[in-house]
Amino acid sequence: MGDDGFSFPLPSQIEDVPGAEGWRSMYQYFTRFQPEDDNRFWFHNAMHFPEPVPAFDSITSEIPYTAIGANTARLFVFPTTLGIEHRIVNGRVYITAIPVTDPAEIEQRLATFQQRAGYYYGNWDSLYEGWKARMAALISEIEGIKVPELPDIEDADVVFNSVGIAQNHYVRENFQRCIDLFSKAWHHHTEMLMLGYGAYVVFFEFCKQAFPEMPDQMVARMCAGIDVIMYRPDDELKRLAQLAVDYHVDDLLTDGADASAVLTAMAERGEGGERWLAALAEARVPWFHVSTGDGFYHHHRSWNEDLTVPFTALPRYVRLVRDGESLDRPTEELKLERERIAAEYRALLTSAEEQAAFDQMLGLARLVFPFVEDHKFYCEHWFTTQFFAKIREFGDLLVRQGVLAETEDIFQLHHTEIDQALTDVMLAWSAGSKPLGARHFAPIIAERKRMLEVLKGWSPPPAVGPVPEALNDPAVRMLWGVTAETLATWAAAENDHGQEIRGYAASPGVVEGVARVLHSVNEIGQVQDGEILVCAVTAPSWAPVFGKIKAAVSDIGGAMSHAAIVAREYGMPAVVGTGHATKRIKTGQTVRVDGDRGIVRILD
């Protein structure tokens, strides 16, 4: 550090949050900071884990990180980066990417990388089609998993078909299959993503060198897809709003109306209501499998599980339809604008050679972009909400067997502890006795719920450990937006209690307004028209909220983060990757968001 001009605390200097000293009991031993970790740089992955992580939900760091590194380090053999290590402290996830720095090793890895990545880049579109089929198969497999009923007397078929295996066996096998499918989904998730980021980073770096003043978001704007799946759930809502008006049932879609009450009223409205309900049913699969979060917490439910988010957005869209406003995204205009921007930058390059290189890089970035933009719908949304739903069914089983007091309690147990609880159930059913789990787990669950509440109040430092020599991981740069500038900004913010918060200029424009700080996706309903959203991170299903707000500010994220993409789509200013906005800004404060410069100023 020293000459860097900035530094962060060491992992060993982080103290247990008073009242939650027992947090370690929630997580596996290999997630704890070790003394030698003080020698490395880690940053808080607030993008994916903005809230304290419940015991079960630590699977959403454990498994993704087994898959990411497997793909970068071992499968594709990225030349300069291995995998990502993670640690949990006070309920928050810190990560670090392990770089390869030895030139000889880089050279050696590069040869393998060229062959393997070359195969994917060379066959990208057909591989992406195959990828979608494999993901669809995993989704249908997890949807089809049966949670055993454990009847008093086993079904006769088991005998007369000479199956020879009783239901209690499938308790653990099927639970384990859920975990294994989650792991497979994440292997697929990272299979193409790191290569996608790689291609994008190359074009990004080229633009930054050729046009040093180019805003980050401009690079994304040249690649951005027009028909992106991510927009589809919101587009479906707009279509439903239009249909409600067409069928003369729009009077039922009013602000604050309860979703189930609306459904009942629709059913009683004759043909119009029935047609609307049919359209809704059609839209729900698969588009309402979008998560209200981004799939990293069990409480990120899908729209299908909780209709509150879509039904909160509908009345506003209905009003716009009535006012005669077009809700269609101007896709042709967006396409032309994307081409115009690219053509103008291209024309500014000084030689035909540079223009040819630009064409190659932009072409490759656009080739990979549909996957980069759309994979989340299949993985984090559709698959993951179904995964958590299935785990909930095991929670129901444990409630029926008297181990848990309520279904959601299952998420207070680590998956290895659930394995123990299910074994307990298997044994008890077999023996004809009662499971012993309630006595064992009830105090543990109560304590963990209490600790999570306490841990919510902790402000994790954005980074810990010495500033690194190299940041080679393309995802770290593009997704988390962690660059030398970010680190300097974070460090400055740690020591600065002024009125200015700096981040990435993610979407242009300057507005002033009242801040609404959301600490959890569950608070999404509090957002009022015309407010400025301040949050740790946003997800695609927040899109309806973007129709209400006039600017977005996030703690974490780069040019490719969701908040950035959606804000650009809605044409509103956004500053992302601020590190601290949710801590520094309070709901109700007037703030000025400068999306041109990446500055948020607290005005009162």
């Binding site: 880089i106 990388f113 003043e213 190659q360 072409g363």
Partner: protein, 351 residues
Amino acid sequence: MTATGLVCPLGAVGATDRAEVGGKGASLGELHRVGLPVPPGFVITVRAFERAMRAADPGDTIGARIATLSGADPAAIERATAAIRGQITTTPVAAELAAAVTAAYLALGADAPVAVRSSAVGEDAAEASFAGLQDTYLWVRGAGAVLDRMRRCWASLYNTEAVSYRLGQHLPAPAAMAIVVQRMVDPRSAGVMFTCSPTTGDRSVIAIEGSWGLGSVLVSGEVTPDSFVVSKVTGEIVRRSVAAKARLHRQAPDGLGTTAEDVAADLRERPCLDDDEVRSLARLGTQVERHYGTPQDIEWAVTGDAIVLLQSRAETVWSSRPTAPVATPKARPMDHVFEQLGRPSVLKKGS
């Protein structure tokens, strides 16, 4: 072109008339000709200058006197140049020229306030380097005053600083000087604009710097200007920095010349341009650059309701710098990925 006369309206000259009207005159004429907003005015040509110099220096000795000077002897330079300047400013103006200038001046309006500006003849790069070394007079009123400032501008070819600079750089004296006389604008804000980034050479942006009042406050270095970076591609203001601008230059209270004063406290930290003005300026800059085909360095002023351009010259720093291509095409697009991901990207420290 009609610049062979002694005086010529700005609207009648263009880029091909540099030898007769100097760089500034030619550029302003050219901007006027293509319909860009330029305050009306006229040029006192090189022909007038040459005639006047023959009268002021009949023995043609000035060149030889300068040649004997050494950059190491500032006192000698000061003595010699003061004598030369005196020769130029005290020689009476020929009747024909006085009549032509007076007529052209009156055409701008009786007692109109004008700017009298030097417009030297020379190479682009040389002109840029001399910028600021030759005189400009603002808020001049009356034909007599114009004729007086005209001679002082001519004499400013032999300013101590200009001569010292040329001796130090082993540069020849500019061949000649024309004078631009323009109707004065009373700017709310003024400044400069580069049609590429002055700090990185990025040609996709326009960089604007401005401050309250006359642009001379920027040249004098008395304030840190507001700065704006505008994307030529989207017209968006991509960066904006509003400085505390404590001083401004404006018309002197007696209406003659300029004065420096403190900026009112509530204006200091306010941007000197609103976003619409920034975008309009950038559009004008793009037009000028497109017209010339090379990046430009432009002086501008904003009055109550209008923007005017006061000068445009070729940007010399980045335009003359040889640039290696950032990348060249490869056998396959993916080879770019292999090249870049195959080398460690070092995190720059100390930023």
